[in-house]
Symmetry: C2
Subunit: 357 residues, 2 copies
């Protein structure tokens, strides 16, 4: 299987991307197509001592979208970017999945433009798998859509449910809404309106609000939120984990006895770090587009890139989008609605006051 | 000094509140006035074996605002609530500060109604002190104002700066805006507009966006955000810390050697827990009202209540509000503006497009 990788995206591109791609090519049954500035990519490849040359190819892209580029502008002005070129390869069937650790908004805008959204999806969303006390949950959106209308939360809930069914093998995944209080009435204008729509939607298994303090308790299989809140939740978790690790290190080296204790616990800390380390997850899929598109953390190192490419490979092999699309269709059948469009129109009619805002 | 305490607010009220009040009365040079259902309060007091009876008094309030009450409704319909009665005591000068672990929105609405906002403040905000790698920072708002206009962020920045000067003894505290990217262009509609206003305001020392992943890095002394994002950031941190603690416990008990290591590190873990434990902070002040009003965590236990009362005592003693008011006035003088109102009007004129939205 051929996986297309944006060599120019991310804080440590192209170095860590090329390294990660080489690791992935060596480890998995895939061929990696690196897209970007070919001079820079070959420079990086040359630095690697040992990698499967026959499993990596390079496609040149004249431009690169930076983290500073405004997505709405970059998508139109930088049409020869590595993101555009890479997604076009997937569109043409020359690659089965796309991975980028670059500008999230730009990846999403380009994916919408080039791969096109699935039928019935206005806003593709990035879904991340989070570990929790009971197992795992999917949280979406985590950064593709910073400002959302109430109806978008329902689209996220439907896509998230399909994804949770798929990756957790659960029959009827529960859906919670990230908010600031457990009570139905709490939240901001968006989430309060979204709550009303979610509550009335038989197509999902909605259980109510999930507070920030419950994020890692495993209260629901799917957690929906706008991209701003989701991004804050995810990144703050990362920062909190980092800070606790720092405090722990300080405490463990304060005296000799503690140093002995810390030595005995080295394997435990290593295991803990692995369990909490985002680079092990590698990437989050952009759900709701016609094609597999995985978005990596901006600060991805080679290991994170390798894992991101693995996620792309697995989801492409399992045909995640086909599954989501079928899931939406099945739900419509259950609701006795013939077309996706009519389904959304029904909801819009029912919640005219909320959705027109 | 007399401190007024809402005995009915919080998940464990009145039991933990009464216990915490008794602990505070015993430890600090204060007199505590417990406000709420007197039958319930006396029942709880009776259960305590030993407490300074002469340092605690009870004032009856007929009603109690629950966590489920909608603040805007409760503030008008439950005028005899413990929150109303307690704040009235502070207004009349019968208490120097108010503490509640109850419905945050209701405390804020009642405080605005009864204590009144400081001149030039539309939206009082809750400011929490967060530990970080370099020391501490103030984050506001953390839940009083879920939907904010761009101008409110500037008010938060001014109040937060005054508070940071006050508690950290810093001359010109730096201010960051909580957002989803370091780059100026990133954020949602609100934060992008707020960014433009903050950037152009010489009254504060603005350094740009602070990402979620930088929350505990100590990038700025003050972090401004709307109450929804602030609440998510704070509560998710709590959840992440809880989850890491859980994973750690699992890892530390996996075999005999690890158990020995864990035994040797018991004091280190205890110290760590203390450093990361929110109950040690106790409460966060509602900044921008005429009076000291401290809001505790909804799930406050007796220890958290005790610490919250200590915070109320300290801030009342140091006359925090007078300080914030003076700070605003001083800034205006520097800007050669005579009245607070003219200051806001100037900004509104300058950012007409943004602020009219």
């Amino acid at each position: 299987m051929r996986i297309v990788v944006d060599a120019m995206g991310g804080d440590h591109a192209p170095r860590e991307i090329v390294k990660g791609a080489a690791l992935a090519a060596a480890e998995y049954d895939i061929h990696v197509i690196l897209v970007g500035d070919q001079t820079l990519i070959y420079q990086e490849l040359k630095k690697l001592k040992d990698y499967p040359k026959e499993k990596i190819s390079v496609i040149h892209a004249e431009e690169a979208i930076t983290m500073d580029d405004l997505p709405s502008v970059a998508v139109r002005r930088k049409r020869k970017s590595s993101i555009h070129e890479g997604l076009k390869l997937v569109k043409k069937g020359e690659g089965r999945a796309f991975f980028s650790a670059g500008n999230t908004g730009a990846v999403m805008a380009c994916a919408k433009l080039i791969l096109r959204p699935l039928e019935g999806v206005d806003r593709p969303a990035i879904g991340a798998v989070l570990p929790n006390a009971k197992g795992h949950s999917v949280i979406l959106d985590i950064g593709a859509n910073v400002d959302c209308k109430p109806l978008h939360y329902l689209q996220f809930a439907i896509m998230g449910s399909a994804y949770a069914k798929f990756v957790f093998d659960k029959e009827n995944p529960t859906v919670g809404l990230l908010s600031i209080g457990e009570e139905d009435l709490k939240g901001n204008e968006s989430t309060k309106n979204a709550f009303n729509i979610l509550k009335e939607s038989p197509i999902i298994n909605f259980i109510g609000n999930v507070e920030g303090k419950e994020l890692y308790k495993g209260k629901s299989d799917v957690i929906v939120c706008d991209g701003f809140a989701g991004n804050i939740a995810l990144k703050v978790s990362e920062s909190a984990a980092w800070y606790i690790g720092k405090l722990l290190k300080e405490e463990l080296t304060k005296n000799f006895i503690r140093k002995i204790g810390a030595f005995l616990l080295k394997p435990a800390f290593k295991a803990l770090k692995k369990r909490a380390d985002y680079t092990e997850y590698g990437g989050a899929p952009l759900l709701g587009v016609n094609g597999v598109c995985i978005i990596g953390h901006g600060s991805s190192n080679a290991n994170a890139v390798k894992n991101g490419i693995r996620v792309a490979y697995e989801l492409a092999e399992k045909r995640i989008n086909l599954y989501i699309e079928r899931n939406i269709q099945d739900s419509l059948k259950r609701l006795k609605v013939d077309k996706v469009e009519s389904f959304w129109n029904n909801i819009k009619d029912k919640f005219k006051k909320i959705t027109s805002e």
